[in-house]
Symmetry: C2
Subunit: 192 residues, 2 copies
DNA sequence: CAGCTTGGCTAGCGGTGCTAGAGTTCCGGT
DNA sequence: ACCGGAACTCTAGCACCGCTAGCCAAGCTG
């Protein structure tokens, strides 16, 4: 019976290795370099093994995305904790958000840009993502005014997402990045 | 000599057919359905012909994107022309922008989301895209205040882009769409 | 020890973007 | 009027993709 446990342990370990390999490969060479063949070689197993763990490549990417949500949530939480006042908290969390997207573009894409099927605006949203959203919402609460907090947060979040994703593929002038960020924060972190 | 002219005319016509086929196929079945084989079948030529017109699939997509920019610019201009006052102009152009993205998702993706190499924040940005941006900028001018108009416009544009692209792949609750749009407009179309 | 279950492997399917090289058609000079 | 050469399009194929059927060798169970 202990053998079965060892097997399950090894299997779980292998699954972690797959996700880790996908993440590292994506971060170092981009998602185009993440192929099932390459992934299989990385974990030193054959391709079909991947499909005994995940339904397909999309599911592997979704797993990486969920992991990334945890990192994002942690960084946003840290930024919020460091803030000295409410307005500065918004600026800080916005900067942290943009920095995350810039530092880990592949991870960011997996979470927000790629047409992956990870549940979002539904019941079973990953808890890590909910945490990240909650960090944003709590930071914005003092400024929501009469607006619904969730809607207000979604709108601000969209602004951040638009800024980072448009800049990342060259649609915006990089040198104006911080000014745009400050402008966005200024528009959302004001009373009345 | 006239024969050469006819040839060139036919060649130009064929190039138009390629872009039109790519656009129609993308709009009706999504970009995944746009393959070089399918495109070749559509224009009733063999695959290599495509490569005598364009450097590759990416170049074809870029051509579609440029065409789409023209449509977007026209719709934004129409919305601005219909406006009765400055604030309503912003609301109208925002609605028009969102409507364009919703009505022609494939075209919108080609312009803003796909990692295509069409020049953007550089010197030789397509004139159609510059027109679309200028429509936004002129509409926002009354509200830019002390901020640089171009930076201000980029930020508002990012907000719009974030809203439509996050909603389009299920990251936002659809039923709140109009409220978010109104909220964004409210934050940017105010004096002081 | 025999038989079955489990699980990883090889090999391959149908698809992709793209290209080399053959073959055909047509133009221009004699 | 004809023929050599240029221009152009086609067939066939390369290397890769995500994914899967079916074989084969282990190891557990009676």
């Amino acid at each position: 019976m202990a053998i079965r446990e060892r097997r399950e342990r090894e299997r779980a370990e292998r699954e972690r290795a797959i996700v880790a390999a996908a993440r590292e490969l994506a971060e170092s060479e981009g998602w185009d370099a993440v192929t099932t063949r390459r992934l299989a070689a990385e974990i030193e197993y054959s391709q079909p093994v991947l499909y005994s763990h995940f339904k397909g490549k999309g599911a592997i990417m979704a797993a990486v995305a969920v992991e990334g949500c945890g990192d994002l949530a942690a960084e946003l939480a840290a930024a919020r904790a460091d803030a000295t006042d409410a307005r500065q908290a918004v600026a800080g969390i916005a900067t942290a958000y943009a920095a995350f997207a810039e530092r880990r573009p592949a991870l960011y894409d997996a979470i927000f840009n790629l047409p992956t099927e990870l549940p979002f605006a539904s019941q079973d949203v990953p808890v890590e993502l909910a945490r990240a959203f909650a960090e944003l919402a709590e930071t914005l609460r003092p400024f929501a005014g009469d607006d619904n907090l969730e809607t207000f947060t979604e709108t601000f979040w969209s602004g951040l997402h638009g800024l980072v994703s448009l800049m990342r593929n060259g649609r915006l002038r990089r040198e104006e990045h911080e000014r745009r960020l400050a402008l966005l924060v200024d528009r959302f972190a004001r009373l009345g």
